[in-house]
Symmetry: C2
Subunit: 318 residues, 2 copies
């Protein structure tokens, strides 16, 4: 028995773009949109709506900015067509430049924030909902949130126009019992107001798929995943595993397997993601992956024991 | 709060040897034994006790046969020293050639079998226990077991001399709720007789570590893992993740990280294991990996969609 309320969101291009400054070829972006649409995914997130004053279009690719004309080109003529989502980061978006939904191909806007910025996220969400968009709030680094602060934020979000609020395990640090606790906590505030809970997991400890399942078991209905698990560092919950797990017959595995063999295998020769020990180390220590990112860019990229010692001794503070 | 009853068994050499016909260099076998011992692992499984009439020593490496003299060399002088385990396969071992424990460096003999062979496994276990060894029975392919047959076998095992009986997810097909069910079922029969439950997971669906944790939560106390997850195809629960998860301060992560960077990174250039789509496909279909093994040896090794279609259509039987 499947839950028809479940929505799968493919974040391949948005989250994968963190590896390569969003410098994907247009052809690849369209191929991902098409494969995900064919596989029955409900939403495909194609990038960020970043401010061009904050970020240089010289340095970053098109999916960093996700201009309306570009998005239109990416989805034009593709049938069946998943809904289209983009992400906005608090403080890195110019809301006034976002057109009303009726002039846009975008269906859903996802607002990423930390617990401390939930107030701002709600302003963004209400602004975007007034323009006609579906919205989510994705609360990042949830494994470091103070629970009373989180509860206050969830209570406010329950009164906002948001459609779904995400548990985002940015550090890939959570275990099943913590996922159960968080999803139950979100539900307590959000379900009475008709809002859904979402889950977005990173794979530092090879728990991205497992934790997504645990969130489903507790009632999360918005599920993020990426093709072949692509994403910065360890990557994300692999879409192909998630679709095989879900029982709804609308989901098809073959389009995802096809694009993996055709496009993702060659891509993995030049882009790094997956089970990589320095990211496993930041995951077990519940830390931002920045130290691992820095290590992997340098000559000591495979000095695992030394890296572990340095982070453990750094964390001995008072 | 940790459970002092928990035992960790490193299967790096035994399970990893399935990739390369057990052709590891002696130096590497010793290095693994030393690293695992230093990390606080309770047992290290160094290979099979296979019959030399059934298998040719020309073709297979020393850890296929695990002669007493060879094992002695592998562990000599290593301090601290983990207990030493070897595996015997029903019908592929000559029990009479196995010396009494007091003349051997081996501490534990693990008997691998299918549900249908539990009777024979019990004969092996009682023979080996009479010679002075600790014993386990590892019931393979548990995801295809008929539950009444399994219950009958567990009831008999409860009356045998075995120390622990394993849930072995050979196909990497199980999800958390099934792990909970199986561990509870094993416990029901085994705990009243003072026997422990073990868990051995394969990583086809990236659930090897997650399912090991779920087994721990339900009371499994014998935990199998391999360094860097090495093992045929998708491999196993990674030892480094398991040790980081366990709270017992006797476990140390650094010796494992050191051997990964020194020996496992170069080894992975020539040996394949990890998240590989054909093994993911056999996992989601709850099948023996033999089709994936065959595919990976041929020219169509990356024809994922075609492979999936062929297995799905093969499975349409009546």
């Amino acid at each position: 028995m499947y839950r028809p309320e479940i929505k799968v969101i493919d974040c391949t291009i948005r989250d994968g773009g963190l590896i390569n400054e969003h410098l994907f070829e247009d052809k690849f972006v369209r191929a991902v949109f098409q494969a995900a649409s064919l596989s029955g995914v409900d939403y495909v997130e194609l990038g960020y709506k970043a401010s061009k004053t904050a970020f240089s279009p010289e340095k970053y690719g098109k999916t960093k900015f996700s201009d309306e004309d570009f998005l239109k080109e990416m989805v034009e003529g593709i049938k069946p067509r998943a809904k289209l989502a983009t992400m906005v980061d608090i403080g890195r978006v110019e809301l006034d430049t976002i057109k009303p939904k009726k002039e846009s191909v975008v269906d859903m806007m996802r607002v990423a924030c930390y617990v401390k910025d939930i107030d701002k996220a709600i302003e963004h969400v209400n602004h975007l909902a007034a323009k006609g968009y579906e919205t989510t709030v994705n609360i990042m680094a949830i494994s470091t949130a103070m629970i009373p602060d989180l509860e206050e934020g969830l209570a406010q979000l329950a009164e906002s126009r948001v459609n779904a609020v995400y548990v985002v395990d940015s550090y890939g640090a959570l275990f099943s019992e913590q996922i159960h606790f968080l999803v139950n906590l979100y539900k307590k505030y959000l379900h009475p107001k008709g809002k859904e809970v979402g889950i977005h997991c990173h794979n530092n400890q090879q728990l991205g798929f497992a934790n997504t399942i645990e969130a489903i078991r507790k009632g999360a209905n918005y599920l993020d995943a990426t093709i072949f698990g692509i994403g910065r560092g360890p990557g994300n919950c692999p879409l192909e595993l998630l679709l095989a797990f879900l029982k709804n017959p609308k989901f098809k595995l073959e389009p995802v397997l096809e694009i993996i063999e055709k496009d993702f295998l060659p891509m993995r020769e030049t882009m790094e993601w997956g089970y990589i020990i320095p990211y496993m180390v930041t995951g077990i220590l519940n830390q931002h992956p920045r130290a691992a990112i820095a290590l992997r860019a340098g000559k000591d990229k495979d000095k695992y024991a030394q890296f572990y010692r340095s982070l453990v001794s750094d964390s001995e503070i008072s």
